[in-house]
Symmetry: C2
Subunit: 309 residues, 2 copies
């Protein structure tokens, strides 16, 4: 079983409008609501792959109830930790040109509420094949929240995949997450250098077992104890990139659980990520494209950067 | 007791952002949620004036539950008619320049659900001093829904104030609403003429007892059986015009219930409307400004248009 923690889940609202015009009123032609947050997208992908997974997430208020109801409707096993604050919403206003996003900050968790999340995870770690930690930390959550979870997983011998940025990422490195999956901008910000290979090496020096950087249309770069790899998608894809990184995280978690080697895991992650771009909603992917991409993608060993790079 | 029907209520979300930039992601600095819809704003104003009022509204799903919870928190007496569809949201994204609005269409009501709303209103009409009908009709609601309610109120000798536009307004005129309160654009659209006095006269010919047109910063124009009036706010106000028309409706309903004459009712409506502009949230008003404006505002008789106008 894969265990997925989403500390700051959301009800994702998608509004379709003919054209977004600032400072005017819009009648929303179509409004869709579904459970969201990066970890929820990971859970959707794993469910579609037939991989047993449990999503652990704090939920509160009517918006939290709506998230729980949607998870149930979608058939996604979840463990909701009740919290007093109301779960946040995100609003994506989609017009033919692009999406405009509004992300609520989320409710502040009390120390006791966060401890309840930790306890829920701790209790399930003995049965977990991997632990996924995804997305932003809610207000009030300690900055070392992910570090704590990584250490608990390590104590049970459970590998971790961490997808976060900023202080949540930086504070977790010393605890030794098995894999961190920043995108290029997050990686550069965390390492303070513009070179992806040098930045990945820096994060490994600070404690990450492996760094898998998602490079958008250029695929993945992985810095690991077994060496460096590049893996590009076998075809250029256009569509909705939201959720593509979450699909890669799902593949990495499934690979870690199965004990797969990097040259097998990376093409799978690249293929799933590219297939997710082809699906209009985050958490979904184009199954036929995934299988096609997976058989065509290849991980290419590349040398680690020299210290002078 | 004043009876207020809001057929298509909403949970109004207000997002404050430093600057709205289309096709980018925004971290929402502050997110507020409260019960909304034009009738709910009317109910808030009446409650603040100490006028007993009951809001009747269909509510469904988690968003409907959030609306009901907020009405309870705000101390607004309400009768929620349960419906299967989920109550809509509106999102107002506010930056220093202005607000950008996204209005969900609302749930489709079944014929049985709409009949439940009618039954709830019918049962309370014998005790009502006036009936307020405010805002858009939800999808699936018959176009003559307001006409039906106006006729039922008339059968009980209860005066009606109707604030709607488009087909909902047009279809209700023949039933003889006591007062209709369009804004200038809605009035022109309903009458098919650009002249406010001629348009108001046309709506009276089609059945409205009186037409009170809200003209934004220019106040009100009233066409009534006792003649025409103009009433301007005694001071120019700047602020949030959302809810100003609802404040006018609240004043008109309270005036009808009290049997007030037009020269008393119109200054009250103009003063309350201008005081609402000074309050940041729809449904609120600046009490000191209201009292000041009310003592200074005067209704000025003006001649009805000649047929040649």
């Amino acid at each position: 079983m894969l265990l997925i923690v989403t500390p700051n889940p959301a009800l994702d609202l998608t509004y379709t409008v003919p054209r977004l015009r600032a400072h005017t009123a819009h009648r929303v032609a179509s409004a869709a609501a579904r459970a969201g947050g990066k970890g929820v997208n990971v859970a959707r992908v794993l469910a579609a792959l037939g991989r047993p997974a449990l999503a652990v997430l704090p939920l509160g208020g009517p918006t939290g109830a709506a998230v729980a109801a949607d998870l149930t409707t979608a058939g996604l096993p979840h463990l909701a930790v009740p919290v007093a604050g109301e779960t946040r919403r995100t609003v994506a206003v989609v017009d033919p040109a692009d999406a405009t996003l509004f992300n609520e900050p989320g409710p502040e968790l009390t120390a006791a509420e966060w401890r309840s999340v930790l306890d829920a995870v701790e209790a399930r770690l003995p049965a977990a094949g991997a632990l996924v930690l995804s997305g932003s930390l809610p207000p009030g959550c300690p900055a070392d929240a992910y570090a704590d979870l990584v250490a608990r997983a390590a104590a049970h011998g459970v590998p971790t995949v961490l997808d976060a940025d900023g202080p949540a990422l930086s504070a977790a490195l010393a605890a030794g997450p098995t894999v961190v999956k920043p995108n290029a901008a997050e990686l550069r910000a965390a390492a303070g250098t513009g070179d992806v290979r040098a930045a990945a090496a820096a994060l490994r020096e600070r404690g990450a077992g492996a760094v898998v950087a998602s490079l958008g249309p250029d695929g993945l770069y992985a810095a690991t104890a077994e060496g460096g790899w590049r893996c590009e998608p076998p075809a250029r894809v256009t569509g909705n990139p939201t959720g593509a990184g979450d699909a890669a995280v799902a593949a990495l978690a499934a690979g870690l659980q199965a004990g797969a080697a990097w040259p097998a895991m990376l093409p799978d992650a690249v293929a799933l990520s590219a297939a997710a771009v082809l699906a209009p909603l985050a958490g979904d992917f184009d199954r036929a494209a995934y299988l096609r991409f997976r058989s065509a993608a290849r991980a290419r060993p590349i040398p680690a950067p020299r210290p002078a790079d």
